[in-house]
Subunit: 621 residues, 2 copies
């Protein structure tokens, strides 16, 4: 794009002022919101999107050639929506329903507003999501799309931003552009670096980004010059770009400019009219234009049927190995499947996929927050990301995981090394709260297979499933118990052993299924008949089978290699909340420590021997 | 300390070799562990601890004047334990029980080994903990203690490290020294920067730390020179220090040196003897000495009784305000109480404490992972940290929170803005999974008071309690329902309404207590008698009262402003797992959105009206 004329700049100035009016009016109408945080970024974003540099076809929002914009500072949603109003996508009347119950224009952007690329509002997450989107554009779509991420200065304290900054430089994503709105003021006072642009530049440049400084982020000439420079440098030099602009929080409202104490509040009611008057004549019909995307030919990706891995019943295979096998086997059935891992692919076994299809594997290093954010970015761009690390380390990214549903992000999580059964490495490496964590994801799927065959089937199921899914895998080898062509379902279960006169039911998943089967055998020999259910689908849960067991047996014992809270026991209790049959939960209740897997299963009362003792004791009481 | 003589260096070399033998022998004995990661840091740590620079009195481990060492790369535990063996604290025989079931020498360091400052093993957490300990030393104890943190290069990808780096510079902690063991190799291959020391220096210096480079981290002369330099520069210049050393993973074992593929494995059994032979003659009795701590006079801190805040029944007060009041009121009763907040103190109301006692308040900016790590560091140094932010944002630090119990860290967490009842800001700001998260903490306390009086009492209770506690506070005002001198207890509850012929029980906490009381009043008018229990202590839970309600009423309804999984409903179900009375859980099941609090409580079926409808429907069915 050529340098702007003064007519262009005047038009951008008029548009900016109207956007300011919209920001102030919609937040005042709502009685809540963050106008001052929105006002500081008006020129930056107006000039980006309507100054000839932002390539987007409104009629085809999903076109891989479109540029993308993410508001990492999600509380500046009034600005985001005002920009889309200026683009003609939102009617001004609808904008005035900002934050109202039922309006898609929520307090922080979510997928309910169709132009939101990804939900934000929990700070420090947008750059990772943008990194993921840029990764998709550069390495998968091979499209000319650029991803622009509006960042607040306070949120640069978040470590996740520095993960994104490292990884973006490592992946040479010169199609990723951050816009750092340095308005000096956080929520409760000044940030660590105030208006010192060089403080940001020194740090970000040190990580290999190219920085472009804008002394006055409200001067259209300077801002457009920055956008011109971004355009000219971002060709193939491998450096992500950070535009760092000195701005004024509350710019445009004299009484608020650069004043602390006004974060997250609409303007004073009694100043409302005079503030609008200061912004000049309203122009509700003013609009701006995007540029056209560069012509781009997508590579069609074909899907091919996948065969089955051939396991023999009795083979000793770790379910984490079956995961690695499944990824490779299903790669051609799901041509958009990509794998991300956090420096542990040899442990999670995603390494098999990495070695097989290196172009579809992305090493994310020891930076789980960014890995999850990147997966969200990849997912909203239509990829099918499988994210793996130790189950315990997925807790590092719980904030990113809990936000993912609000982007409708189709991400699959795989946590290995679950439970005390990992043994001697000890509790820092043990996933003991991961089932609880993932169960809290609304409509999330939580699967915990016990053998290689069910694992592979479940990888296929969750790849096919639309929505967030979690697969828990085991470090140690376990015997294959299912035939290769056995079928499984989300919400299903397998009753491995039952009779018409079962005394008790054992409900288990993963490693404890094998303990339960061994216990059942031993109890059988003592004349106690045990039903055993493999609850491989923890959420959703097979209520009918569980209820039938509650109807037909005297007591249910759940057995899990996980803390009691929020796990399989509580899931079963919830399912039977109106049923009188008692449910006893065997779970990890003692402080977990280093030791051999067998000793730890015994310590925690979830080994076959412990199950036998617990069930016998209950039935004899 | 003066520059080392060649005799000193020879002694350090001999000690280093014996430490190498211990590392190799204990991991081979255990059959697991990370010898190569331990071997790369031998000279660095041996020379630090036994070269005259580490001031520590073994007989008084808790002396505030002691220097501190933390292994952020916790998998190098063989080195940590070998160093303490060299110090004479661990017997070599005991070292050989590394990782055995029952041994305090766990796979990654935990509090079960008495010299562990804080548990590590989940990477990227040690620098935050060290930051907290340095904060305690500099700003609270005002002691000469220095905190040394051994860091791996791969874990520098973790954003939490960059949070710690920012905050340490901001707080001018020149008593914090990082030791960056740049051995080039992560778990599955090379790190992003390999052996490029300048890559680390450029980045860390940009954040204001002073960097000291060591070209050969196995050359005692160079390493001791670095420690001499640390000693000379660390006086009062306000810059934290990073020693960045080029090292070799597996140093000392020729076949493993700098070779990928050997992470986390003991040496080959058939090479064991020759490897030991290459390390020279064993010297099981060689020991090293620490230096004496600088004489230091602790300021005694006296505790004074606290009064009560005076609330009137019926006053409308947000429990978050009561939290702020309680902190101030209890400050003199708990002289070690300090408050940390993540840039939202005006929202969490810890601002009152900040304004009252600024020396005991530490702004942690928008960096929750580091905030929690810092709190662990403060706690293990004997402070009483209260950590506050929005409940939703505590999920950002779940990994740090789940690790805290293994340090026996006495940290109190306070999450504000819980539930959909925060209203228009929308789901990114709503804590809806925090009860589930904190319930998974073994022996953790989870409290959720409904009014100002109970909130203040509970702050006192959890301050007095030894162990991790979580307090959930509400954004909106709620009426005071308790008298100022009402007593509460961890594990207690309040039955607000009961009769001998109650039809149903409502169990609620926090904001839903008020909804439940209003519902009960309405149901009363319809001739339905309702018992109402304020379950302010969710964990531990008042089993006796809950069971009595299950015995005496037909049905229990739990009502919570939280997702169903892992929350109050499941806690009550677990309590009544052997009881036939049905339990129905009212919780947040619909996708949360922006809107007024009232509309959202209705949407989610947890408002008074919804409760009335649900209970009536059930009883009429």
């Amino acid at each position: 794009m050529s340098t702007s004329t003064s007519t262009d700049l005047e038009q951008l100035a008029r548009l900016s002022q109207q956007i300011r009016r919209w920001i102030i009016r919609c937040t005042s109408q709502a009685g809540s919101g963050h106008p001052t945080s929105s006002l500081s970024a008006v020129e930056l974003m107006t000039d980006l999107m309507f100054g000839g540099h932002f390539r987007y076809r409104i009629e085809q929002p999903d076109d891989p050639a479109n540029d993308r914009v993410i508001f990492s500072k999600g509380h500046a949603s009034p600005l985001l929506y005002s920009l889309w109003t200026a683009a003609g996508v939102i009617e001004p009347d609808a904008l005035m329903r900002y934050r109202e119950f039922g309006s898609p224009l929520e307090g922080h952007p979510t997928s309910r507003f169709r132009m939101t690329e990804a939900a934000t509002g929990s700070l420090g997450q947008g750059l990772s999501i943008g990194f993921g989107m840029a990764l998709a554009a550069r390495y998968i779509d091979r499209s000319p799309s650029r991803t622009f991420v509006l960042l607040g200065d306070s949120e640069m304290a978040e470590g996740s931003q520095w993960e994104a900054i490292q990884l973006a430089a490592h992946y040479k994503l010169d199609n990723l552009v951050g816009i750092l709105d340095v308005n000096r003021l956080g929520q409760r006072g000044e940030t660590m670096y105030g208006h010192d642009l060089n403080a940001y530049r020194d740090r970000i440049e040190a990580f290999g980004w190219r920085c472009i400084l804008v002394d006055d982020g409200h001067d259209h000439q300077q801002v457009m010059q920055a956008w011109d420079e971004v355009e000219s440098v971002s060709e193939n030099n491998g450096q992500p770009i950070m535009v760092i602009a000195r701005t004024i929080k509350g710019k445009g409202v004299a009484s608020l400019e650069d004043e602390p104490g006004h974060h997250g509040k609409p303007v004073d009611e009694d100043e409302f009219e005079s503030i609008l008057a200061d912004l000049g004549e309203p122009d509700e019909s003013i609009r701006g234009q995007f540029s056209d995307p560069i012509v781009y030919q997508a590579n069609p990706r074909k899907s091919e049927e996948a065969g089955l891995t051939d396991y023999e019943i009795g083979d000793e295979v770790a379910t984490r190995d079956a995961y690695g096998n499944a990824l490779c086997r299903l790669a051609r059935k799901y041509p958009r499947l990509v794998a991300l891992d956090g420096e542990v692919c040899n442990s999670t076994r995603s390494k098999r996929f990495r070695d097989d299809l290196p172009d579809r594997f992305f090493e994310m290093f020891i930076a789980e927050q960014n890995m999850v954010g990147a997966a969200v970015g990849l997912a909203v761009r239509g990829e099918l990301p499988f994210v793996s690390t130790f189950a315990a380390f997925l807790s590092r990214a719980f904030d990113q995981i809990r936000m993912a549903p609000y982007s409708n992000a189709n991400v699959k999580f795989v946590g290995s090394h679950c439970g005390v059964s990992i043994g001697q490495d000890g509790p820092s490496q043990m996933g003991l709260e991961d089932i609880a964590m993932f169960r809290t994801i609304q409509d999330g799927v939580v699967m915990y297979p016990c053998d290689a065959v069910s694992t592979e089937a479940i990888v296929d199921l969750i790849a096919d499933h639309q929505g967030i899914a979690y697969l828990r895998t085991t470090r140690g080898k376990t015997p294959v118990i299912y035939a290769n062509d056995e079928s499984f379902s989300i919400g299903g279960s397998k009753t491995l052993k039952e009779s018409e006169s079962d005394d008790a039911t054992l409900i288990a998943a993963g490693i404890t299924v094998h303990e339960a089967m061994a216990a059942a055998k031993e109890l059988d020999a003592k004349g106690i008949s045990i039903r055993v259910i493999d609850l491989y689908s923890i959420k959703p849960l097979d209520h009918a089978t569980v209820r039938r067991a509650a109807d037909q047996t005297k007591v249910i014992f759940t057995v899990e290699d996980h803390f009691p809270e929020g796990g399989i026991g509580e899931a079963v209790l919830t399912s039977l909340s109106d049923h009188p049959t008692p449910v006893n939960s065997l779970a990890v209740r003692k402080r977990p420590i280093s030791g051999s897997p067998d000793k730890l299963l015994d310590l925690e009362g979830i080994s076959a021997g412990s199950i036998v003792a617990a069930v016998s004791r209950w039935l004899e009481a």
